[in-house]
Amino acid sequence: MTRFFFHLDECGSVTQDLEGRELPDLDAARVCAVAAARDVMSGELAKETICFSCHIDISDANGTVLETVPFKYAVKIDGL
């Protein structure tokens, strides 16, 4: 298990994750980040506006960004 950190970047306004979460690998971390993106967007949806420019940076304990998960890749929109 490795500790991954999930930093929320809302168009430049960053909420640092100081705790992180122990997960088996980066694939699992990505799943976690996608779920988090959808969850944050759910909260925004209730308040009318979702921003697809936001993203989550997955980093290791040293702060190195391992992968970026953009909000727009966490959803599929039909019927527009």
């Binding site: 929320l8 994750d17 979460r21 779920a35 944050v40 308040k47």
Partner: protein
């Protein structure tokens, strides 16, 4: 529970966890099995701690010998039920920010009433993930809501350290009315 903090939770088949309550030092964790034969949920320690074990037979004996103790046990269960009702409405009717604030408010209030620490200086024994499991949110979302609450003056936060300088403001942001806790004397 002698020392430490515990959560009651239910696990889904896919591994998702719903924390249904936090228990504090001094709580009787399992009066349930004096009367019910099946465990319908789990107890999980959130911190290192110590637990005292009391045989069910002895507990039942004490309750049947001393009616006022039996009443106290019943009252404990009824108050637990009230807290569960509030947790249901918390998840069902409050937005993410208010949900997180409410769970924190309740914890701080209960802790203070037990004399475990002042309102102004709280070391939260729970992780963002555990707060998330208690509120139906992801840890990232919880973290974001904590930041928003701190920006709105609910508290000053540094990791798990919370300094509450305006308790009234915090309660207002949390939509928190402590009467459901049925506590005798409140701040």
């Amino acid at each position: 529970m002698v020392k430490g903090y515990v959560a009651r939770h239910k696990l889904r088949r896919d591994g998702r966890r719903q924390i249904v309550s936090f228990q504090l030092p001094g709580d009787m964790l399992d009066l349930q099995h004096c009367l019910l034969s099946r465990a319908d949920h789990n107890l999980q320690s959130m911190t290192p701690g110590s637990v005292a074990w009391v045989p069910i037979a002895a507990l039942s004996q004490v309750a049947s010998t001393f009616p006022r103790i039996a009443t106290a046990f019943a009252k404990d269960a009824l108050i637990d039920a009230s807290i569960f009702r509030e947790w249901i409405s918390n998840i069902g009717t409050r937005d993410a920010k208010t949900r997180v604030a409410h769970v924190l408010c309740e914890f701080v209030q209960r802790r203070e009433a037990l004399g475990l620490g002042p309102l102004e200086d709280v070391q939260l024994p729970f992780s963002q993930e555990q707060l998330g499991d208690a509120t139906g949110l992801t840890a990232v979302h919880v973290n974001r809501m904590l930041r928003e609450l701190s920006e709105e003056g609910a508290f000053a936060r540094s990791g798990r350290s919370f300094r509450i300088t305006d308790w009234k403001r915090f309660k207002a942001l949390a939509d928190f009315d402590p009467s459901y806790l049925h506590m005798p004397a409140m701040t």
